[in-house]
């Protein structure tokens, strides 16, 4: 068991080369807020990359930012805020759910774990924001991929692969992201006391409207308390729209027309509530395992009904279901997910459970073979987080 900390990219290369010589894999750790996410591994060594921190270039008028991979997200967001800009994928703070500090994660961790939050609905996922990167691969080489401009099809789009790879393909050292202007104002509207099916139908109607919602969530009665939304009856549908004062007024009016006959209230602290939704706050302070089901929106209600979780809620107009169910529900949940054309991830569970139950839904044989070949294309000796995603990957 050894713990290495590197100070810069040069030391990182040395560390990878040494690991290569010794055939000794390591766990890549930034600030460690999501170490309990992913398949449980028993990697003896850890590589602390948190020193790879700092913003390298922020070209606000180009809507691009470049930072070292372990730069704290909070630092990036604070800088973007000064210019009324934002990361569109709306990275959520999962730290507290895993018993870690709040607001402590890094940009590299957010990208590697796909921590997309509510606004992902409008602006796309982490992968849609990473324009290019530098990394060290399993051969101990520094290489770069992508570029620093929004529109680029030069060579393979390796940036997409790095997002959500859980650090299994290499150690990111620098990332370049596109950013979006932040609308001057936002409004979060709530429809109270709607049942599941009705609530999802309502959210889908708004999702299919041209008012560019940046958050569409459904909070059933069982999960409402931590969000302090007042009396929600059977459940609440939440929708956020954005714009300057006049356009925002127009959007709100348009939503009222669209949802005629529903009482549409405005909540005061909408931004905070949506951040809590991204962070899975319904499960804060509660023990127990958590699953996330990624399903086509129109299947959300039936999946929820079949899953029958005592506590759950939904983001992305029903495209993402957070479910409080034990790891042992794997077979049932995976069948439910697969039947809907989606998949289930064991989001939070004990290390034992995450060793015995596949955390990410397993792939068809041909797909799994391809995944292994791609892993080997970056990391032939399986030095980086081996097993964190699938067995051997």
């Amino acid at each position: 068991m050894a713990h290495f900390a590197i100070a810069d990219e040069t030391q990182l290369v040395e560390a990878v080369r040494a690991a290569r010589e010794a055939r000794a894999p390591f766990e890549i750790v930034g600030r460690g807020t999501k170490r309990a996410y992913g398949r449980a591994t028993s990697i003896a060594n850890t590589l602390d990359v948190s020193a790879l921190s700092g913003i390298l270039a922020y070209e606000h008028d180009e809507l691009v930012i470049t930072a070292r991979a372990a730069t704290p997200l909070s630092e990036i967001e604070a800088l973007l805020n000064q210019r009324q800009q934002r990361l569109g994928f709306d990275p959520a703070d999962w730290g507290p759910l895993f018993g870690e500090r709040a607001n402590a994660g890094t940009i590299g961790g957010a990208l590697s774990a796909n921590t997309d939050g509510p606004a992902r609905l409008r602006f796309g996922a982490a992968r849609d924001h990473l324009l290019g990167y530098r990394a060290v691969n399993g051969l101990g080489e520094v290489y770069k991929a992508g570029g620093r401009v929004v529109k680029n099809v030069t060579g393979f789009d390796l940036s997409k692969l790095m997002c959500g790879a859980m650090g299994t393909l290499g150690v990111l050292t620098e990332v370049t992201l596109r950013v979006y202007p932040r609308a001057p104002e936002s409004a979060t509207l709530i429809v109270r006391d709607v049942g599941t099916e009705d609530g999802f139908a309502l959210l889908r109607r708004v999702w299919s409207s041209p008012f560019e919602p940046t958050g569409l969530a459904y909070i059933p009665d069982c999960a409402a308390k931590p969000f302090a939304l007042g009396d929600c009856g059977q459940g609440a549908a939440l929708m956020r729209v954005e714009g300057a004062a006049e356009p925002l007024k127009e959007k709100i009016a348009a939503l009222r027309t669209l949802l005629k006959g529903r009482a549409l209230d405005r909540v005061d602290n909408g931004e905070a509530i949506l951040a809590q939704i991204g962070a899975g706050a319904a499960f804060l302070g509660r023990d127990g395992d958590i699953w996330r089901l990624s399903v086509p929106q129109a299947s959300a209600a039936s999946c929820v009904e079949r899953a029958n979780a005592p506590i759950w809620f939904a983001d992305w107009a029903g495209g993402l279901l957070w479910l409080g169910l034990p790891a042992t529900s794997a077979t049932a949940l995976r069948a439910i997910g697969a039947r809907a054309g989606g998949h289930a991830t064991l989001f939070r569970a004990s290390a034992e459970s995450r060793a015995s139950v596949p955390v990410f839904q397993s792939e068809s044989a041909a797909h799994a073979t391809l995944t292994k070949s791609v892993k080997a294309a970056f990391d032939p000796l399986a030095l980086f987080n081996p097993g964190r995603m699938f067995e051997g990957v």
Binding site: D116, R120, G155, G319, T371
Partner: protein
Amino acid sequence: MLFAPPDPDILARRGKILAGLRGILSDGVVSEPAGLAAFDGDALTAYRQAPLACVLPRTRDEVSALLRFASAEGIPVIPRGAGTSLSGGALPRADAILIGLGRMNRIVEIDLENRCVVAEPGVTNLAIGRAVEKDGFYYAPDPSSQIACTVGGNVAENSGGIHCLKYGITTNNLLGVELALPGGERVQLGGKTMQPGGLDLLGVVAGSEGLLGIVVEATLRILPKPPVTRTVMAAFRDVPCAGLCVANVIAAGIIPAAMEFMDRRCIDAVEDYCRPGYPRGAEGILLIELDGVEAEVTDAVAQIEDIARAAGAYEFRAAADEAERARLWAGRKAAFPAMGRLAPDMLCMDGTIPRGKLPEVLARMAELSERHGLGFCNVFHAGDGNLHPLIIFDVMKPGELARAEEFGAEILKLCVDVGGVLTGEHGVGVEKRDLMPLMFSDTDLAQQGRVKCAFDSASLLNPGKVFPMLSACVEQGHMHVTGGRVPYPNLPRF
């Protein structure tokens, strides 16, 4: 560029290969020279080469069977949609089977509830939009070639279009594909969900130029039509001023649905061709489209007018009605054919630069044009800095093609030098293959090459495209390419 000599062993087996293909497809094997001539290249017209055979499957099982056969026989395969690639992506080889996907042109499912369309690869880009327009939806990536180009080609080239500034290019609007791998097995990558599990293989398939697999089905995101759409035109007496206007609009936090530039030569050509009503005499115009709710669009138009006038616009007008709006865009979409009437041959470049560098790069391109003694015009997706200089030349005049290519390469080098890239939407293909070292080191390219090998270890899919190297799929093997020099210099190459 020289063509690689075909593998004599494959040519010698032609009869047997054709028989094998006919065993798989009862009709749809093209082998006679006249038939093959229809498939001997794409929209990079300077290069032509008929394939050994062309096959036109109707089903995904047939695609798999063809791939299985080709891989067992060790024959290269070139996927082809409509052949509108501008980078030679669909250029055949004499020893390769061309798989044309045009007959697989069914829309499989229109799923409005989940806001997506599932389509076979041969469906045209335009047909996707047409299929959902009556329900108030559209498909955002809209290449100018949209009446012809296919969904499969769009995925392979990761194509963009006028409306990609706000809504992203193909990859950002692609939810899933079914991919046939070189050995014939098929995998479903992504689907109708927002977050696929596992490694994002879908992400690397988009833009892989037919090198990783054949797309046999794609699931595409559709968007609700905005309630208000308004198009404005700003005219400038000076090209760099238009560039400044673009940079300032973006810097002001406005992301228009589209922001397109055309220079004087192009304005004149288009006016002669279809009279969209552009101001003759302007050195450059910008067409800017805003969409959203009424107040949003009104605000943005007012802000943009201020920015444009401050940057030197001498005329600024909004399309009065839908007919005028359509006319303004028809002119933009006709830019290629209109220029085509003026020039015997054109080379369309496709670099992207940071938007702030537009004034500088536009000025330097004019100098380069003079130095090379070749005319060019500029029509491009200004909002995302994606340049499309059209170099005008005549292939029949000795040395002009080479000079045009040299001029083009210098433009792309300039793009890379100012922090941009070689291609924003047309792909590398054969055209920019040997320029890849301008942007990527040996190590960078070797990493991409290993991903190719992970999908296609025998290098049978679209070989000779994208990479300036003869790749060998060994674990750590990578070849050195420095300063444009290539390994095995004695081997003839494209």
